[in-house]
């Protein structure tokens, strides 16, 4: 039996096992050890995925996937990453993550049997559907029709360590919300959507969120370092496809907190739980069906698109119909007051969803005009920035006021008193900056002041102490994550305002000046790497006669597949990055160099880490319901 045959067999086992699990879980009376049921799909997928990696690592060109995506000279780590750097492999990874969550959940100590069964049943339905999709349209173990001795290679732009780990991390986030959906479905069927349900759900919504945040951050980090465009976010459809579930997921865990504490907003929480994974699914449909043009899209195939759409339709219609019937019965008496933490969180929810609406609309509108008006339009970054500006301002306000409000009922005056000093301090700092350093416009002043206020308030909230002067750990997560978000917006605004760049035509020994940075073009030479040849230029950043830094941008020529890439040279300083990219024109004796000065970039990455650490703290120190 060949490896491919064995792989197919394993996925068939996964298919049958998940179907069996679905059947076993439906009848009410059967009493089973759930851990046993979830094992077969999990181990089968894990083994199949290991085999997939093996055929890539051993460069087994009997398999079409390996031929299309790998090459024997590729460094080991990129052979491994090649396994999931394509449609079929990443789909197998998707299934694996589905089974992992199912498996781990089967070990949870939830004693509500009916609920647990329903959750696992729905999860198995999804495993079944995706495995069916894999076996019928996207089998990674398909053998080649003709014998081939070498592969076509992996796009060198994808040969990067960060990018190699970006999909697995992103998928744990993306697919983690599948379990959240199963929780919602299970809760609706078992009529168990209450504080206890929220407590069971709480760690899962946070885990998925943490990985999704980290995954998006990594992707953005990679785009900045590798693509050489000087940017870190392009409002590209695939980026948007990962941002949308993130926005819904952020709104969701805030709701879960309210549900856990106050036992209200049940149907809203369920709706968000369904929405988040729906967005993951829609995202995957958009990316893999080829209907959107993007630098990210995998090879498209309308047949595949149709399959995904059908699967998507089944999951969404089941979930949303269930919501239509069970939703009304879920809610408790509403006791929310206008001035309270709950209303602050609800405001935050709606602002996040408004952001989601803008991103969704911007991504899909061109499809709409194409379909209904036979007209193609582009929706570029300016649309998103202009539309999101007012929403972001309101969101920052909500994040400042919300955590400062008390649960249940508070007075506006009290809230204002608790934030006014820090607000005034922030305003003073920003105004001072505007007067003494660099003039700022009103929008920038507003945003920066709010960000700074948010950071200060969040630090203050994080330092709250108990009676015995120990820090209240349960608010650490919120504090860190909010500091992270405030820092993120602050850095983005700062970078956009103060970034500078210039294109120079340079010959060796030229001096290039940007702002008050002086660069000396030292040399150009031919160099070699593991699977490429390169032309490397050397630039020195000078301070009078001293060399402060060395920049070495390259033009690389790969042979498998034949590609030319431009490698950026970036030096990170505390307050700014200096970013140098080069291009070599035809028949000339000079080089075109693009030098960027990009302030606050490192703080963007720091803010993502803060949010992730905040999420981890939130899980570790979460408040448990007392019985």
């Amino acid at each position: 039996m060949t490896i491919g045959n064995f792989g197919n067999l394993l996925m068939l086992i996964c298919l049958l096992a998940s179907f069996t699990q679905l059947l076993y879980l439906l009848p009410k009376k059967i009493d089973i050890d759930y851990r046993v049921l979830s094992r077969a799909p999990f181990f089968a997928s894990l083994l199949a995925f290991t085999l997939l990696i093996y055929i890539f690592v051993s460069s087994d060109f009997n398999y079409q996937l390996v031929v299309n995506n790998s090459h024997s000279e590729k460094p080991l780590i990129y052979k491994i990453a090649g396994a999931w750097g394509n449609h079929e492999g990443s789909l197998l990874l998707w299934i694996l993550v589905l089974t992992i969550f199912n498996f781990i959940f089967s070990y949870s100590k939830i004693k509500h049997v009916d609920f647990k069964k329903n959750v696992m049943a729905f999860q198995s339905l999804m495993i079944f559907g995706f495995t069916l999709f894999l076996l019928f349209t996207s089998n990674p173990f398909l053998e080649t029709e003709i014998t081939v001795n070498e592969g076509l290679g992996l796009n060198p732009v994808l040969q990067d360590l960060l990018l190699a780990i970006h999909p697995p991390i992103l998928y744990v986030g993306y697919v983690g919300y599948s379990l959240v959906l199963s929780f919602a479905v299970g809760g609706m069927i078992s009529n168990k959507v209450d504080r206890e349900w929220a407590e069971w759900l709480h760690p899962w919504v946070l885990i998925a969120w943490i990985f999704l945040t980290l995954g998006i951050g990594l992707g953005s980090f990679w785009a900045y370092y590798e693509l050489g465009w000087g940017g870190y976010w392009f409002w590209d459809p695939v980026e948007n496809a990962s941002l949308m579930p993130w926005l819904a997921g952020t709104a969701l865990f805030h709701c879960v907190i309210i549900l856990k504490k106050k036992n209200i907003l049940q149907s809203w929480t369920i709706l968000l739980s369904i929405l988040t994974f729906s967005l993951s699914l829609i995202g995957t449909f958009l990316v893999r069906s080829g209907i959107l043009n993007s630098v990210h899209t995998f090879a498209s195939d309308p047949a595949r698109g149709l399959f995904i759409l059908i699967f998507l339709a089944i999951i969404l219609i089941i979930s949303f119909t269930l919501y239509a019937f069970r939703g009304p019965a879920l809610d408790n008496k509403n006791e929310m007051n206008l001035v309270s933490k709950e209303s602050g969180i609800l405001a935050n929810n709606w602002l996040l969803l408004s952001t989601l609406f803008v991103v969704f609309l911007g991504t899909l509108y061109p499809l709409g005009t194409d379909l209904f008006l036979q007209k193609s339009i582009s929706v570029g970054p300016k649309y998103y920035i202009l539309s999101l500006l007012p929403i972001t301002i309101l969101l920052l306000l909500a994040m400042i006021v919300g955590p400062s409000a008390k649960w249940q009922n508070d007075k506006i005056l009290n809230i204002i008193l608790s934030i006014n000093k820090l607000f005034i301090l922030s305003l003073a700092i920003i105004f001072g900056f505007s007067i003494y350093f660099a003039e700022l416009q009103l929008t920038q002043i507003t945003l920066l002041t709010l960000c700074l206020t948010l950071i200060f308030i969040s630090i203050k909230n994080g330092l709250r102490v108990n009676q015995d002067y120990t820090i209240i750990k349960s608010s650490l997560g919120q504090s860190l994550a909010h500091i992270g978000f405030g820092l993120l917006i602050l850095s983005v605004v700062g970078n956009a305002t103060f970034a500078q760049e210039k294109i120079f035509q340079a010959k060796v020994n030229d001096t290039l000046i940007l702002d008050d940075h002086v660069f000396k073009f030292n040399s150009v030479e031919q160099t070699e790497g593991k699977n490429f040849n390169a032309i490397t230029a050397t630039f020195y950043l000078m301070d009078n006669k001293t060399i402060l830094d060395t920049f070495e941008p390259e033009i690389r020529v790969y042979s498998n597949p034949p590609t030319v890439t431009s490698e950026t040279s970036i030096i990170r300083k505390f307050l700014a990055d200096i970013y140098v990219v080069m291009n070599i024109p035809e028949n000339s004796d000079f080089v075109n160099v693009r030098i960027h000065i990009k302030p606050l970039i490192s703080f963007i990455w720091l803010s993502v880490i803060l949010m992730v650490v905040g999420g981890i703290s939130a899980i570790v120190f979460r408040v448990k319901l007392t019985r």
Partner: protein, 177 residues
Amino acid sequence: MKKFNIKYFIPVTIVILFLIFFSQVLNRDVSKLSSQLIEKPIPTFNMPTLFNDDQSFNTSDVAEKNVALVNIWASWCIPCRSEHEILMILSKIEGLNLYGINYKDNKDNALKFIEQLGNPYNKIGVDKNGRSSMVWGVYGVPETFIIHKGTVIYKHIGPIHMNELEDVILPILGKIL
């Protein structure tokens, strides 16, 4: 007490509408951008010709014909070579006037190309720097436009393959010739 509230059916309705929307979008080929010019009069242009520097190829040459076909090509464009056969076939059609625009090419190479593969065109305009072709919304070669009484009715991006000739081009021509 059973509860029923029609408002809770709003999400599923929205979802179904979107699913229908997506299924319609799937059936469209997004990579072929619909031409800006379709159903608009042909753009204004004037360029020298390949064989005779004094002669010009301009808007009225194409606009006054009942049915015309404008093909943008270059000698360095490999798909243009295979497409040329198809153009030779089209040139035999009664009532169809073919015009070519030689895009960003070297004169000698272009002449050699025509010499070797034949001349299906009434006239060949020369667009040395690609500027004149911009009004046609050209962004690559080859591209072909079918024009009926001075209005663009079809744009073909990329080379015309035999099956496309049979399935798409000839039917369109059949309706207007």
